[in-house]
């Protein structure tokens, strides 16, 4: 899965070219011209490009990728490369020059569109980015596929009648070149170095071997080429943009090699129907692989964002609980306590039995209010936890229970404050429920901590039959635990007793 920082790095590469490239513009031109010319010669040499059109025209991808990563100002490199690559013996000079102009416009259009797209979206890791990149490639190659054949026709290098057919092949061949090289270059130009564990390296090797094998038997015409699709989908999922673009390039290289091996060198006039099939195969393969990669990456990123959001929301809620507890403790609680004391002082002045009774009743009510407030504030966030830790707070809770509580196990270390608070909340709720409803004669409490988190088990030997209804305290406990990503279980067979089990996973802060 592709990690977040890579997305950032990839976007940044649109704005900032590598340092070595910006240092000398001239060297950039020379380098681009060589790469462009080299990839054209490579195509001629292996017979998948002809003087007119190609099965796959790699230079368009090389040129566009260079301008996308380095900047549009490197366009003269593409011009020089294309002029060098023109096969002047096969086509009229003016036609060649017209074709070169078309090719130059082509890479500039693609680069301009993709750079614009990259200002907003990652071109490989978001669906919008992929769509934008595809649109850019299709538009740019269309320019070349119109200008090139027309100028050849105008210079007499091509009959007017064959222009539509040549244009179509031209467009597909250039689009294939763009689709193969641009995403590949973008995926590998990003900052983070490739780091493969031995296991991942073996996985990558096996995947490439399987893709190579399937492509090879497909190229021999033994099996349909689309057998490679599932493997490419797996690679996209497992290895992200780099894996997917590399795998597609590799598969296409094998298939195209097989195509030229079987049908001889590509020439637009001896164009076999199988060329169209191969081109469409490349387009479909590249697009579906890009879309799969973007989908997987987007989903991964969305999931990470959601988790981060949940984490923040949870932390904020716990902080709010602590704040409320502090406010209650420092404010209303202290004021009521002060009132109780002053009432006690004044009660001594009460001389008549009626007055004494009124004072006693008022004091009773006041003490009840203080108790309720104390319980409320405990439920919100028990300050006892921050002071005593979970084990001692549980002892103190057990000490206050009217039903005898057996502490089977208490944790030696408590974990983070938030999970402690959740565990303590479970304890207070279950003990309160047991006291109110169970009629039990004893309660067993077990709280343990391990690497996975806090485990809380509370069992009573009461009447059982507790159910989890909406809005109940039990539902509240489940929700509190589940916001932690923990688990909660209630077993309460009638006549046997009630057991509550909660697991609160340790939180990494």
């Amino acid at each position: 899965m592709v990690e977040g920082p890579e997305r950032v790095a990839l976007r940044r590469s649109a704005a900032a070219a590598p340092a070595w490239l910006t240092r000398s513009r001239l060297w950039g031109w020379v380098l681009l011209a060589l790469l462009y010319y080299g990839s054209a010669r490579f195509g001629y040499a292996f017979g998948f490009s002809g003087p007119i059109a190609a099965i796959v025209w790699l230079p368009v991808g090389v040129g566009a990728a260079f301008l996308i990563i380095g900047g549009l100002s490197f366009w003269p490199g593409a011009l020089i490369g294309d002029l060098l690559a023109d096969q002047y013996t096969a086509i009229p000079v003016w036609g060649a020059i017209g074709q070169t102009i078309g090719n130059l416009l082509e890479v500039i259009v693609i680069a301009a569109v993709v750079r614009e797209v990259m200002r907003r979206w990652s071109p490989l890791e978001s669906l919008r980015g992929v769509a934008g990149m595809l649109a850019g490639i299709c538009a740019g190659t269309a320019v070349s596929a119109i200008v090139g054949p027309l100028s050849l026709a105008a210079s007499g290098g091509l009959s007017i009648g064959s222009v539509p057919h040549v244009s179509w092949t031209w467009w597909l061949g250039d689009t294939c070149g763009g689709l193969l090289v641009v995403p590949l270059a973008l995926a590998w130009s990003r900052q983070p170095r490739l780091r493969l564990t031995p296991r991942r390296a073996v996985e990558a090797f096996v995947a490439l071997a399987v893709i190579g094998g399937l492509s090879l038997i497909a190229a021999r015409g033994v099996t349909p080429a689309y057998l490679v699709f599932p493997i490419l989908a797996i690679v996209a999922i497992r290895f992200g943009a780099r894996g997917a673009t590399t795998a597609v390039f590799f598969s296409v290289a094998v298939v195209v090699w097989g195509e030229t091996d079987r049908h001889g060198h590509f020439a637009v006039n001896s164009f076999a129907p199988s060329v169209l099939k191969t081109q469409l195969f490349i387009v479909v393969l590249a697009i579906s692989s890009l879309v799969a990669t973007a989908l997987v990456t987007e989903r991964g990123a969305a999931l990470r964002e959601m988790r981060a959001f949940e984490e923040r929301a949870f932390t904020a809620a716990e902080a709010e609980r602590r704040r409320m507890e502090r406010d209650l403790h420092d404010g209303a609680q202290q004021r009521l306590l002060a009132l109780a004391i002053r009432l006690g002082l004044n009660a001594r002045e009460a001389t008549t039995p009626t007055l004494q009774r009124v004072f006693a009743e008022t004091q009773g009510q006041l003490h009840q209010a203080i108790d309720e407030l104390r319980d409320l504030s405990h439920g919100i966030h028990p300050s006892v936890l921050s002071e005593l830790g979970l084990a001692n707070a549980t002892r103190s809770l057990a000490g206050r229970s009217p039903i005898p509580v057996i502490l089977v196990e208490l944790p030696t270390q408590s974990g983070d404050p938030d999970s402690q608070a959740a565990a303590y909340y479970i304890l207070t709720e279950t003990l309160a429920n047991a006291q109110k409803h169970s009629g039990a004669s004893s309660i067993r409490v077990r709280v343990s901590a391990d690497g996975a988190g806090l485990h809380v088990v509370v069992e009573d030997n009461g009447v059982g039959g507790a159910t989890e209804t909406a809005g109940s305290g039990i539902m509240g406990m489940r929700q509190r635990v589940e916001t932690f990503g923990g688990s909660f279980a209630l077993e309460s067979p009638a006549g046997v007793g009630t057991r509550v089990t909660a697991v609160i996973p340790a939180r990494v802060s």
């Binding site: 403790h329 420092d330 609680q333 202290q334 004021r335 306590l337 002060a338 009132l339 109780a340 004391i341 002053r342 006690g344 002082l345 006041l366 003490h367 203080i370 104390r374 405990h378 300050s383 006892v384 002071e387 005593l388 707070a393 002892r395 103190s396 000490g399």
Partner: protein, 116 residues
């Protein structure tokens, strides 16, 4: 008896002062709103008694009592708490709501005798 009342809640501090003033034989020597200040005052004024808010005393009330004792060995410490819970140490702990002249004088009478 000279009493130091230490509590970080101003509202409760006032009420506690009223209780001390209403207790025969007791008078308020000083008040303060933090443990550090309480230890300081104990060292200077050597009160007979400190009413110390347990929450304010921090994580370990036993330690807080020890600090007062170090500053003024003769001083008797009574903890008061809004939410009384058992803790390590020998100092008595009073639920804030039950603080009255009676509890104060009772605890004072029953204090362990301190060897000079």
């Amino acid at each position: 008896m000279q009493v130091l009342v230490a509590d970080d809640s101003p509202v409760f501090l006032e009420a506690a002062v009223a209780v001390v003033e209403a207790s025969p034989g007791f008078e308020v020597a000083a008040t303060c709103r933090s443990l550090a200040r309480a230890v300081e005052i104990a060292g200077e004024a050597r009160p007979d008694l400190v009413l110390l808010d347990e929450t304010m005393a921090g994580a370990s009330p036993g330690d807080a009592a020890g600090q007062i004792a170090a500053a003024s060995p003769q001083t008797f410490v009574i903890f008061v708490s809004a939410d009384p819970r058992p803790f390590e140490g020998t100092a008595p702990l009073v639920d804030k709501r039950t603080l009255s002249p009676t509890t104060l004088t009772d605890l004072w009478r029953e204090r362990p005798s301190v060897q000079p």
